[in-house]
């Protein structure tokens, strides 16, 4: 099963390689990985998408926690959270299809960020399904290049105000 794991780490050189080394060294797979600084410049947040049965996911979370530079690990899957991904898509737009491309962009609330006589570059934000739907519609029109960010995710605030707590338990 696919899991979205949010990891707070020390913002230090070499931390990314400790994490990616852990995954490659132990045969875990990474589907996507996203890193950026948090409000506290000494801490970065990584959003990892990985796959595995319960035992493997438990190992991944424990092994991440074991790294000295990892401050907190949270498995968002199974909790209430919001996820987003962004794609930049360069799509060929001949005179016959220019209107069609713009219509698709409009329907999916995307934006055109670059225009040339024969192409549009589109910015699409959403969850994985939405991005996939846009891509499926654009493929027949001719996608020239595509770049995707991979997922970022954040837990939803509970209605009573508390934060969804992590599901990590060692015992």
């Amino acid at each position: 099963m696919k899991h979205v794991i949010s990891v707070l780490v020390d913002n230090e050189p070499g931390v990314l390689s400790r994490i990616s080394g852990l995954f490659s060294g132990r045969g875990f797979n990474i589907e996507s990985l996203n890193v950026a600084e948090t409000l506290d410049p000494t801490i970065s947040r990584m959003t990892l998408v990985t796959r595995g049965n319960d035992q493997i996911i438990e190992q991944i979370i424990k092994q991440l926690n074991k790294l000295v530079n990892v401050i907190k690990v949270q498995d968002l899957t199974g909790t209430d959270y919001v996820e987003r991904e962004m794609a930049l898509i360069k799509v060929s737009a001949q005179s016959s299809s220019r209107a069609e491309v713009l219509r698709i962009v409009d329907i999916f609330r995307g934006r055109v960020v670059d225009v040339s006589p024969k192409s549009f570059t589109l910015e699409i934000t959403g969850d994985e399904k939405k991005i996939q739907a846009v891509i499926d519609l654009l493929v027949p029109l001719g996608i020239m290049e595509i770049v995707r960010t991979g997922k970022v995710a954040i837990s939803r605030v509970k209605k009573n105000g508390g934060n969804e707590s992590s599901k990590i338990s060692e015992e």
Binding site: S17, G21, G25, Q55, E58, K62, V68, V70, E170, E171
Partner: protein
């Protein structure tokens, strides 16, 4: 007053109570070696002959004493030579701090002379590692390194020191306390889990304790022995656990696993409750995982959460320090009401185990030549007679190691030092040197094979130079015995590159290094050689010419169930 990086390093080591460093100099650590002269009174430096020897020696020192072992090596090849030693310590959770020299910071990444990205290379085989880029961070990094090495599940930590950082100066201020926000080992077991465990133990009919090296590291041998004795629970240990429970105790079943005893493997397969303490269900222990201890509920006590349910799913995991958890468990068992008459309750079980023990005891067939097992039995006998409990055994890796585990009786924690996880040939001799440095008055014997001993034989010079009276017992079968055994059993006897066509004359070689060499070629010469060696106050190499085709039995083939043992 400002101090240089080199002085800060040595001051910090003094603060940490470091008495000895095992090392080898080089260009990148020139300044440190220069400063070391001023600290010669407080910090002893043992000059090894190869960096791998330095790390194994520091490892042996650490395992024997429980203190943190310290090494100092130069950049590039010095550091890469240390890697096998570091990985060995990592697999067996040995607290080490390894200082490596590095090229000056402005040359890092430049493919400079004797440059290696040792922080990158050792990332997967250290508990943590550091590159110090500013002399102002040096003291706190050293403090963190020692703290990480010795706390939680111990392990090796590498600190990489660029030459310019070592030459630079800063105010010296050794921090009294540090905090690492991502590092909080759990020492106390969860009370509810401990209570559940106590309930299971109280009602188990066929319980078994499976103890590993964690019991020794946590100094929990006493608590474990109390648990076993008080509730009449038989004990098997892993290779790393040997010595955490008295080997001559009636409840002791011997080691389990690939070369475990028949009764231990039968007991673990048939028990109804398995109490794993400080052990990690390694593949050499479990055999085929699906068939490992299929009828038991499992309690697993370990300080490292990643060890739990990694290979074998357990029913009651307890994360914590073995000593703390066992103490709490003993207390919980007392509170579980009047202790059941455990001896009576388990009498059927103990009888069954006894029957297994009698059905296939450890044994070997005698011949006209020297049997390696016989040498180990004799060593065991004579050492006990001459030194009581005051000895340390190290082993190399292979048949010598397994026969030692089977035929030597360990009654004290930290009396066996062996490379269990990584299985590093060449570990035993330098580790014996380190153990002898830690305990000059104990008799330290490395039980070796002719293959393994040659992997770090250069350390004979170290042993002789520092007058360390280490004894090496070479079980000389003129081959790589364990691989040869596998070839005999699994490759129809095709001995591909396992027979040495040339083995050096170890007696002459010992002499060349200034050590004493002795040889036994007949069974009746074994005892006199051992007695003479143990009475010689110098480094001694005993060369026992043993039967080549001897195999280690019982044996569970790799990947087979524990019950599929090949018996003698």
């Amino acid at each position: 007053m400002k101090k240089t990086g080199a002085e800060i390093l040595l001051e910090s080591l003094r603060q940490e109570g470091v008495e000895v460093i095992f090392g080898f100099p080089g260009g990148a650590v020139l300044n440190i070696y220069d400063a070391l002269l001023k600290y010669a009174e407080e910090i002893r430096h043992i000059l090894v002959r190869h960096e791998q020897g330095a790390v194994h020696a520091a490892d042996g020192y650490a395992r024997a004493s429980g203190k943190v072992g310290v090494c100092l090596v130069t950049s590039g090849p010095g550091a890469t030579n240390a890697v096998t030693g570091i990985a060995t310590a990592y697999m067996d959770s040995v607290p080490l701090v390894v200082f490596s020299g590095q090229v000056p910071t402005m040359l890092i990444g430049n493919d400079a002379f004797q440059e290696a990205d040792i922080v990158g290379i050792t990332r997967p085989c250290t508990k943590h590692n550091f590159l110090v880029k500013d002399v102002n961070n040096l003291a706190i990094t050293i403090k963190q390194a020692f703290y990480l090495a010795r706390t939680g599940r111990p392990g090796p930590v590498l600190v990489d020191l660029p030459k310019d950082v070592i030459a630079d100066t800063a105010e010296y201020n050794y921090p009294a306390k540090i905090k690492l926000r991502g590092y909080n080992p759990t020492y106390q077991g969860h009370p509810r889990q401990i209570k559940k465990a106590a309930k299971l133990i109280a009602k188990a009919q066929k319980p078994l304790i499976y103890a590993g090296g964690g019991v020794i590291i946590a100094n929990a041998a006493k608590e474990l022995t109390t648990l076993a004795q008080k509730y009449a629970i038989p004990v098997t240990t892993t290779l790393m656990g040997l010595g955490c429970f008295p080997g001559n105790h009636p409840l002791f079943l011997g080691m389990l696993g690939m070369h475990g005893t028949y009764q231990a493997n039968m007991a673990v397969t048939n028990c109804d409750l398995l109490i794993a303490v400080g052990a990690r269900f390694d593949d050499r222990v479990t055999g085929k995982v699906e068939k490992f201890s299929p009828y038991s509920q499992k309690i697993h006590i370990d300080i490292d959460p990643t060890s739990i349910s990694k290979n074998v799913l357990v029913d009651i995991p307890i994360v914590g320090d073995a000593k703390n958890v066992l103490r709490a468990l003993l207390k919980a068992l007392e509170e579980e009401g009047p202790p059941p008459d455990s001896a009576k309750m388990h009498s059927e079980w103990l009888k069954q185990i006894d029957a297994w023990a009698k059905a296939a005891p450890l044994n070997y067939k005698n011949s006209s030549g020297i049997k390696p097992q016989f040498v180990i039995q004799k060593l065991n006998e004579i050492l006990r007679e001459m030194a009581g409990d005051n000895f340390i055994i190290t082993t190399e890796v292979g048949q010598n190691q397994m026969w030692t585990a089977q035929f030597f009786t360990f009654t004290r924690p930290r009396s066996l030092l062996t490379s269990g996880g990584l299985g590093t040939m060449g570990y035993g001799f330098p580790a014996a040197i380190g153990a002898q440095v830690a305990f000059p008055d104990k008799i330290v014997v490395d039980i070796a094979g002719d293959g393994s001993f040659q992997m770090n034989i250069q350390e004979l010079a170290t042993a002789v130079q520092y007058k360390l009276p280490v004894k090496v017992a070479v079980l000389n079968n003129h081959c790589l015995g364990m691989v040869r055994q596998w070839q005999q059993l699994f490759c129809d006897g095709r001995y591909s590159h396992t027979i040495f066509e040339l083995v050096p004359d170890f007696v002459k070689l010992a002499g060349a290094y200034g050590a004493v060499g002795m040889r036994a070629t007949k069974p009746e010469e074994v005892e006199p050689v051992i007695r003479a060696a143990l009475s010689t106050p110098q480094t001694v190499v005993m060369d026992f010419i043993v039967d080549r085709e001897e195999c280690v039995y019982p044996m569970v083939p790799a990947g087979a169930a524990l019950t599929e043992m090949i018996l003698l």
